[in-house]
Amino acid sequence: MKNPVSRRHFLRGFGGVALGLPFLEALAPRRAQAQESAIQRFGVFYACNGVDMSRWFPNGAYGLLTEQHLAGTANDALLPFVSKLLIPRGLHMAPRSGGRDPGGGDDHGRCMAQKLTAYPAALTGGLATGPSIDYLLAQAINPGPEGARRPALNLMVGRPNGFAGLDYISYSGPGQAIAAVNNPWNAYASLVSLNTVTNESAEARDRILLRRQSVLDLVQTQFERLRRLPLSSNDTQKLDMHFTAVREVEVQVSATGLACLDPDIEARGTPFRGSATLAIEEPQYPAVADLQVDIFALALACDMTRVATLHFDRGSGGPTFRWDGMVHTYNHHKLSHGKVRDDCFGESTAGGCDNVAGFQDMLFDIDRWHQRKLARLLGRLDAYVEADGRTVLDNSAILYANEMSDGKLHSFMDLPFIIAGSAGGRLRQKLYFPLGPEGQTDKSAPHNRLLNTIMNVMGVQSDWFGVPEGMGGATMQGGVYDELLV
């Protein structure tokens, strides 16, 4: 419910003062909500430091994906969902790292910054130079009040380290990283407090809305007062971004009618209450992982957001896995290099730098642990049945991505990807499909085209994803991988 007077007041208030673009957008007519039978969701599940390549991919021929394909691989936890998986093979990152295409950051930094953006990392600071797919999709398909857009839900497990390029996978624009929420209590509390299902009457809700609108009208006047100052373009952008973020008021009720308060999550999250950024200690890691997965699923199922990401720690780091049967002495990154120790350089065997005994098995265990968390997510999403008879998982595309393939080589080729869910019947299922050759090739199947495929699958027409052609290296491609579509 909008107060029409406020719009006139808004225009009058500005008078001859220049209007920035976001303010103009605020005045544009709202797109009518499409009456769709089912809503589509997109999620990203992102792990780091590569995988044990010998046991990650399906076991057997391309084509129909069977349980035998997954048995004994890192993905065996996904067996219950075998009919809902699409595993493309042979993709490489584009732009490429390893010095092959322009860009800053080391190999790990580039792979963190580029995987969801397909924009090179900046030469200084290592942040991506363009927006990520989760941000773009949220802008396109994540409904907010009155046609505005809600931001994606960005979660992480682990703690930011301050080495900027390695801490983020999501970006709203060049150099504009979106810090994921690593404190599950904060993630949950923000979702439910902003999505309160009020038991009050429609009349009471209207009164709250009117009050918030009246407050916003005054706040808007306060923005206009600052906007009259001579400002640098950076300050102008700041003010416009801020106002765009608050210009719509709402009293939201759940779209799907599900009970979106989860006492179990609340109880498990309470120990993390009270700090803006959780300084997560390693023993907390598995509990935080489960919570973030559950919040991710809840948010998608309850339509608090239609776009969500979850990333596990960071490249060139990661925890030392000492839980769920793992008793490692070295952290994930160190193990990924197959070294006994982190101070063994290159392939040297000097000073006892042999490969750690069983390091490959340790990496395999880490991969399986991550895939069990993915299975937990898929299981939760698959448990919600929607009005069209499909499950929330069926109506979603959940993308598993990893920073690298072979961590020891810092390889950006033959990347592990999985898409779970058909996005409402648009993606092929139960399929293991070669888009490019296996192994170390960077010529045939760029990942920016996979991201572009997902954009189109989610209903956003797009010919190209990532840094414009000619600026990102020779191997990027436009268009979509038709082979993945129904």
């Binding site: 220049a18 809600r150 709203s172 400002l231 102008t236 120790r341």
Partner: protein, 555 residues
């Protein structure tokens, strides 16, 4: 001499920095690239409160002491700038969170009598009580008196309270709406500098109120206290002398110490402590919670130096440390029997250890699980203490194999020298490695050692410092050289400028920079130099920018 003379660095500037500590081309010394001041000054008029500042501001404003259950979306850091708060923005997540917390605080303002009493200075039945509330609360919330236009706007909203909230208590409804709206106003959420008039130097002079806020957020990380407000109201924050006097009074408050320690934690990357992961089989003698202990010990040392009137020189060379019963044995000391648990000061007779770089925390944070990490120890000296420009390693650097060699490699130093002597590595590593080798007398957790395996450690090296070759043997000699080096003091001063103004050092800062770097100043004097500088008391003309382009066809 094992050092290769290098040419111009890959990504450095070959210009001398203004202020004149750059190398002379004719001396034949290796060229050194400094982080050069930016050509332009990126001052902002709108510095968004950090989440920590938001919390302490609301606590001070309302007299609330709890944590408010803030669940704000975290801020992203913009690359390697260590104080990027000038760039903090309100995104689509944070905007609605600000609204939610404003509504919850506003509810507390009218339901908790102590909070209400703090906000409303009069009996609500008094005729002009609403006017008094708007004036006094508005001045504290916006950290300056409201303009007549603002008063009119908020008065209107106050009056609407009765119909919009409908609690039955019209006055409280007005207070509640006022608080809700002020806490969502950019004038509250940002430290705004709205002054317009240029002074004789072409800079935009700040008002007393704006200077009060600057002082307060710089030193308290919160809104101005009553004394600062009083000075602003009386127009007593105009001259450098007045501001210096105000700062001296503030420096006596314990909370300022937290901020001064925090500068060092950020500038010197105490965050790296979280990477400490010694191999427990090699170092079974480490106490539990080793990381937390060394971090606490390092912060205690910085705090003690700052509180006792020290500066960079003492931070680098003071011959003592803090340790508890778990850490003292690693220094070869026995904790005194019956000593109270917790940290106490331990002295190093004969100066066997001096300053922060020879304490456990720094040494362990720049080491691997088993072996030392001379590269990162040296990089810290080069990048963080001397502000030299060193690019990140090129792709593949960390997986570069050792070249074949017939000689057996016996020490870390030999291996590093061999590894970084290849290809174009020496471009940077001839600078990085020598100061790192000085610390080879300390193992991966910071214990003193004279041998690595059976081989005596070699801690002698040389580097260019202040345009001259500086030779040292051991970390003790290196830190003494650094403490006397103009380069180090210049670097330290530039980090303070960046921290204080939340932007990169610029050419406009050079006179202030020169004045701060001339000698080893106590931190308190550095603070005074900063708050009395033109950069603190006025804005660069660049803050005015260009007005946004007028859109065509505005409806």
């Amino acid at each position: 001499m094992g050092m290769v003379l290098v040419g111009v660095l890959a990504c450095g500037s070959d210009e001398d920095p203004p202020g004149g500590s750059g190398p002379e081309a004719s001396t034949g010394l290796p060229e050194v690239a400094y982080r050069a001041p930016a050509q332009t000054t990126s001052d902002t008029r709108l510095a968004r409160l950090t989440h920590a500042q938001y919390l302490s501001t609301v606590q001070d404003l309302f007299g609330i002491r709890d944590s408010l259950d803030l669940t704000f979306a975290p801020d992203a850091l913009n690359g390697f700038a260590f104080n990027s708060s000038n760039d903090f923005r309100v995104d689509a997540r944070l905007g609605p969170q600000y609204r939610a917390i404003a509504e919850s605080v506003a509810e507390r303002a009218v339901t908790e009598p102590a909070v209400f009493g703090r906000l409303v200075p009069c009996e609500v039945t008094v005729a002009d009580c609403a006017e008094q509330f708007l004036g006094t609360f508005g001045e504290r919330a916006f950290r300056r008196p409201l303009s007549p236009e603002e008063l009119t706007s908020f008065r209107e909203l106050f009056t609407l309270g009765a119909s919009l909230v409908q609690s039955g208590d019209d006055f409280r409804d007005g207070v509640r709406l006022t608080v809700e709206s002020m806490l969502q106003s950019p004038q509250f959420l940002y430290r705004t500098d709205q002054s317009l008039e240029q002074n004789a130097e072409g800079r935009i002079a700040l008002s007393d109120w704006e200077v009060a806020s600057r002082l307060s957020y710089f030193l308290f990380d919160s809104m101005p206290d009553p004394e600062l407000f009083e000075l602003a109201r009386a127009g007593q924050l105009r001259t450098p002398e007045q501001v210096a006097a105000a700062a001296r009074r503030m420096l006596n408050e314990p909370r300022v110490l937290d901020k001064l320690v925090s500068f060092h934690e950020q500038a010197w990357q105490f965050g790296r402590f979280s990477r400490i992961s010694p191999d427990p089989t090699v170092f079974p003698n480490l106490p539990s919670e080793f990381v937390a202990r060394v971090r606490q010990a390092a912060a205690s040392f910085v705090e003690d130096v700052v509180a006792s009137g020290g500066g960079l020189k003492e931070l680098l060379t003071a011959p003592y440390a803090f340790a508890d019963g778990g850490l003292a044995p690693l220094y070869g000391m026995t904790p005194p029997l019956g000593a109270a648990p917790g940290f106490s000061r331990i002295e190093f007779p004969g100066g066997e250890r001096k300053g922060l770089l020879m304490q456990l925390g720094f040494l362990a944070a720049n080491a691997y699980s088993v072996r030392t990490d001379p590269i990162h120890r040296g990089l810290f000296v080069i990048r963080d203490l001397l502000c030299r420009e060193i690019p990140d390693p090129p792709p593949g650097a960390s997986t570069t194999p050792l070249p074949p060699t017939d000689e057996p490699i016996e020490t870390t130093r030999e291996e590093i020298t061999l590894l970084t002597g290849q290809s174009f590595c020496p471009t940077c590593h001839t600078q990085i490695n020598p100061p790192g080798f000085a610390f080879e007398g300390f193992d991966a957790v910071g214990q003193a050692r004279s041998t690595e395996g059976d081989v005596p450690v070699d801690t002698a090296a040389e580097m260019v410092l202040d345009d001259r070759w500086a030779r040292f043997s051991g970390a003790g000699e290196l830190v003494e050289l650094l403490a006397r080096s103009e380069e180090a003091h210049r670097c330290y001063a530039s980090r303070w400028i960046e921290f204080t103004f939340g932007r990169p050092l610029s050419l406009e800062d050079v006179p202030t920079w020169d004045a701060m770097a001339s000698e080893s100043l106590p931190v308190a004097d550095i603070v005074e130099a900063l708050v009395t500088s033109p950069q603190f008391l006025s804005l660069s003309a660049s803050a005015n920018g260009q007005p946004a382009a007028s859109p065509e066809g505005t409806p």
